[in-house]
């Protein structure tokens, strides 16, 4: 028996040794990606996902390359160049106006340091008096504002005060080669959500003889509570006029919710209501089902159920948008790699999948990953295996931000030269592009032959277009 056991133990040891020498695949994301649990969009969600046209061009902040971002100039240019969506970030003024504004510090894109310094605007008392407050009350309110004042943060200023700021001149100082005198000569305002919608509809600001926008304001009797405290909700009535340069494109809007702490409680509902007021809420007023994305060579996305896409990086906003919009409006969950509050910090297949699943749990239809490449050199969150995971979830992919044709070729799959990578989904890895160069992205799509047959077939010269727009 001992000899048998001896032989058996030697045999066992040999088996263990041989099997331990077997080459185990070192963890390979291209393979691991199919081992992780990934949820999928429901049929109802797929329907909403498909409200958005394929290979859409999303004009990032209107244009950051050719014009001062998120201004009238930017959005008019974006509309006329033929972008499918005008992109904007949402914030709120102290008196409750929903802004289309990216930065939470006004110093970079306005002249606030010259206008207000770090003080409560001197016109604040007059503002309160204009709302009908007695002088003593107005004084008290100004004192309260001074005690609780954070300079340069948009929600600490009324929209009337924000309108005093010049959002165009800075661009001429930082983008020398794209500078145009008219960006400074014509007052470029911090835009509102309403402005954005109107620009997308072929309107422009109505201005008085001094070139200032025309508006009236009235106290609503309601209150709004933002970071700056409780304030009167003011209804501004802005005047717009038909844009003589409107060629008939009707792009949609692609609006981003920031972290909720920046905005008033219930901000998502506020945006819901504002979209309803502006006839942009497909939940309260759906578009005709047969409306086409492109009509007679013009962009018509703004008249379809894809007219609004919501987006956010914020894990908290994601849940709040779900509560208010219930997955009935296309929504994009944006991804950024880092250690910030909203960032994905573990971009392994398991970590990446957890963010996709979080998006699906919160009724998002689209993933918006950052892409690498000059000049921004954002973190890479759209490798082929990551695109594969998003595809498995049946979500659309809207990467950001494109600045070069090299990036477009890379993420559309040109550089794969038809070769498959492991068992991963084949390119393209993008269903739309957030672009700072809409003219280049449009041309790229047209050259690839992937634009809708009814979409515009040519792209205007961007400089010539700016001249035509009066800049």
């Amino acid at each position: 028996m001992s000899r048998k056991l001896y032989k058996l133990s030697l045999l066992f040891l040999a088996i263990v040794l041989i099997s331990s020498c077997k080459r185990e695949e070192v963890n390979n994301y291209n393979v691991d990606v199919d081992k992780v649990e990934i949820k999928q969009l429901s049929p109802e969600m797929l329907k909403v996902r498909d409200y958005v046209p394929a290979n859409a061009v999303i004009a990032h902040r209107g244009s950051t390359f050719w014009t001062p971002e998120e201004t009238e100039a930017a959005y008019r240019w974006g509309r006329e160049i033929g972008a499918d969506y005008l992109e904007a970030d949402l914030q709120v003024s102290k008196d409750g106006v929903v802004l289309a504004l990216h930065d939470d510090n006004l110093k970079r894109t306005t002249n606030i340091e010259n206008v207000y310094g770090e003080n409560v605007p001197a016109t604040r008392k007059a503002y309160y008096l204009g709302l009908g407050y007695a002088e003593a009350d107005a004084d008290k309110m100004v004192e309260a504002d001074k005690k609780n004042f954070i300079p340069n943060l948009p929600s600490y200023y009324t929209y009337e005060e924000l309108m005093k700021l010049d959002a165009g001149t800075w661009f001429n100082q930082t983008s020398i080669e794209q500078a145009r005198p008219q960006y400074a000569a014509q007052h470029q305002y911090i835009s509102t959500l309403e402005d954005l919608v109107m620009y997308a509809r072929g309107k422009r600001l109505k201005r008085d003889g001094n070139g200032e926008r025309v508006f009236t304001k009235a106290k609503t009797g309601k209150k709004v509570k933002s970071l700056s405290g409780e304030a009167d909700l003011v209804q501004y009535t802005f005047a717009y006029e038909n844009d003589a340069q409107d060629s008939g494109n009707r792009p949609g809007i692609y609006i981003e919710f920031k972290e909720p702490w920046l905005n008033p409680a219930g901000f998502e509902q506020m945006v819901f209501d504002e979209l309803s007021r502006l006839d942009m809420n497909i939940i309260t007023k759906p578009a005709p089902a047969n409306e086409q994305f492109y009509v007679n060579g013009k962009v018509n996305v703004g008249n379809t159920n894809g007219k609004v896409i919501l987006q956010t990086f914020s894990l908290q906003s994601l849940g709040k948008i779900k509560e208010v919009f219930k997955g009935q409006v296309p929504m994009c969950f944006l991804l950024w790699k880092g250690n910030g509050a909203t960032d994905i910090s573990d971009d392994s297949p398991e970590g990446y999948a957890s963010f996709i699943n979080l998006g699906i749990d919160n009724l998002a239809h689209i993933i918006g990953p950052s892409i690498t490449g000059a000049p921004n050199n954002y973190p890479e969150l759209l490798t082929p295996w990551q695109a594969h995971l998003i595809r498995k979830a049946k979500m659309a992919i809207h990467p950001y931000s494109f600045d070069t044709q090299d990036q477009m070729k890379k993420y559309f799959g040109d550089y794969n030269y038809g070769n498959a990578i492991a068992d991963l989904t084949k390119p393209p890895y993008a269903d739309a592009m957030f672009t700072n160069r809409s003219e280049m992205t449009l041309q790229y799509y047209i050259d690839k032959g992937v634009r809708n047959a009814n979409a515009p077939k040519t792209v205007k010269n961007p400089n010539q277009l700016l001249k035509e727009l009066g800049y």
């Binding site: 040891l13 185990e24 914020s314 894990l315 963010f355």
Partner: protein, 451 residues
């Protein structure tokens, strides 16, 4: 006496040379030296262990292979009631301090054994950790013992053993070399207590309890704020000797201050059968200089405004872990199982041709996840109250992993110098940091030579 000390040193040196020439020669010879009166006995021994294992997981890559797990050189010197023991390991290509102690043994008027022991050795807590690797019936100890046990420490113990009682207790330092990054060493006190109602030729049974209290004083200095941050790290590899990756069962407990351990154990042994098990519950209390940390974060635009608000956003809670195992053995061939009453332990098997079948189930729980907390893998973070938000309050959950392991093994003794052990282990893991690593399979074998 001196010449024997000199002689023993010479033997050790000779042994060292033998080690270097191991490939060409036999293993180091077992050596006993006695003086003519036989009141000094010097021994020298070695143990060489090599393990091979094939590991497989659902998801992560594992490091299968073979390795030299240990190469131990040990020596002892007994002189009347004094006993010195030194044990050093050169396995895995590095020197590791093993036992190093002096023991004074005596008996009282009733002939009950007592001893005082000083040096570096296993704390009197776990039955398993007090068992020498050479006497083990499994290739590894259970994960729960490796994770939650206290292998060795520098200290002093007093042991008392009579026919029915075993009591071993002592006091130990936190760090054997005093080379902590910062802070003066803490101290641990603990003991292992057994009742042995039956211990005869054919049957032995004992039940026992262990307690341990440790004060954790060492840690790292936060230079910016001049704050000592203590941390307790608890971790173990899966139940194998080849892949020592301890990521799957791994917990850091920041601000650990006091560590309470409570253990329970039982053993039954007949000639051909044994069953034994342990359960351990660990409670770690924490202490944090909140006022200093609160003041250190003041000054920014978004500072916490009051100490209370800072504390509510950064709560601190105690942490609890637990685990246990049960082991069974059946001697298919060989004389019989034996019990070491002096240490309250089951002896290993060393009869030529002995064969035993063994089985073990172990459970290790390093997950202390608070009710309602949810985990987001992409952030590697817990969110309190089930709400994933941008700026959540800090969660007090700790997820070091929960492991269930089942092992079947067979051991064969060639002779008293050599044995082979083979085992298969299945493990199931629940660790939010490794959501796809659920099932592990390990096939392993060991050759052990002791001289």
């Amino acid at each position: 006496m001196k010449k024997y000390i000199v002689l023993s040193l010479a033997v050790i040196l000779f042994a060292g040379k033998s080690v270097l020439a191991q490939d060409e020669s036999n293993f180091v010879k077992h050596t006993n030296i006695q003086d003519k009166d036989k009141d000094v006995v010097i021994t020298l021994g070695t143990r060489f262990t090599t393990d091979a294992a094939y590991l497989n997981s659902d998801f992560s890559d594992m490091k299968s292979g073979a390795k030299i797990s240990e190469f131990r050189v040990r020596t002892s010197l007994a002189y009347k009631k004094w006993f010195f023991y030194g044990d050093f390991d050169f396995g895995e290509g590095k020197f590791t301090q093993k036992d190093l102690y002096v023991k004074y043994q005596f008996t009282d008027a009733d002939n009950n054994a007592q001893s005082l022991k000083i040096g570096y050795y296993a704390e009197p807590f776990s039955m398993s950790l007090n068992t020498s690797m050479g006497s083990m019936h499994f290739i590894t100890r259970s994960a729960t013992v490796n994770a939650l046990g206290n292998p060795r420490a520098l200290g002093i113990t007093y042991k008392y053993v009579n026919k029915y009682i075993f009591a071993n207790q002592g006091i130990f330092a936190e760090n054997k070399y005093n080379n902590q990054i910062a802070g003066s060493q803490g101290v641990a006190v603990g003991g292992r207590y057994l009742g042995i109602p039956v211990n005869n030729e054919n049957l032995t049974a004992h039940v026992g309890a262990s307690v341990r209290y440790a004060k954790i004083n060492t840690g790292e200095i936060d230079k910016a704020n001049q704050i000592l941050k203590t941390n307790l790290h608890v971790a173990t590899a899966l139940e194998n000797q080849v892949d020592k990756n301890n990521a799957f069962l791994n917990a850091n407990i920041p601000w650990a201050n006091e560590w309470y351990k409570f253990g329970f154990e039982g053993l039954v042994k007949t000639d051909k059968f044994f069953a034994r098990g342990e359960y351990s519950f660990d409670k770690i209390n924490k202490e944090r200089p909140d006022q200093k940390l609160f003041e250190a974060q003041l000054g920014g635009l978004w500072s916490w405004t009051t100490l209370e608000s800072w504390q509510s956003g950064n709560p601190l809670d105690n942490t609890n872990f637990d685990g246990g195992y049960i082991e069974l053995g059946y001697l298919l061939k060989g004389n019989k199982y034996t019990y070491n009453k002096e240490d309250g332990l089951l002896n290993g098997i060393s009869d030529k041709g002995a064969v035993e079948l063994v089985a073990r189930y172990s459970y290790t729980n390093l997950n202390d996840i608070k009710n309602g907390d949810v985990f987001l893998k992409g952030k590697n973070k817990f969110y309190p109250d089930g709400v994933i938000t941008d700026y959540p309050n800090e969660s007090t959950s700790i997820a070091g992993g929960k492991l269930h392991s089942a092992t079947l093994g067979v051991n064969y003794v060639f002779n008293k110098y050599a044995k082979v052990m083979c085992a298969y282990t299945y493990s199931n893991l629940d660790n939010p940091y490794f959501p796809n690593d659920k099932n592990f399979n390990i096939v392993q074998a060991r050759f052990m030579f002791s001289f």
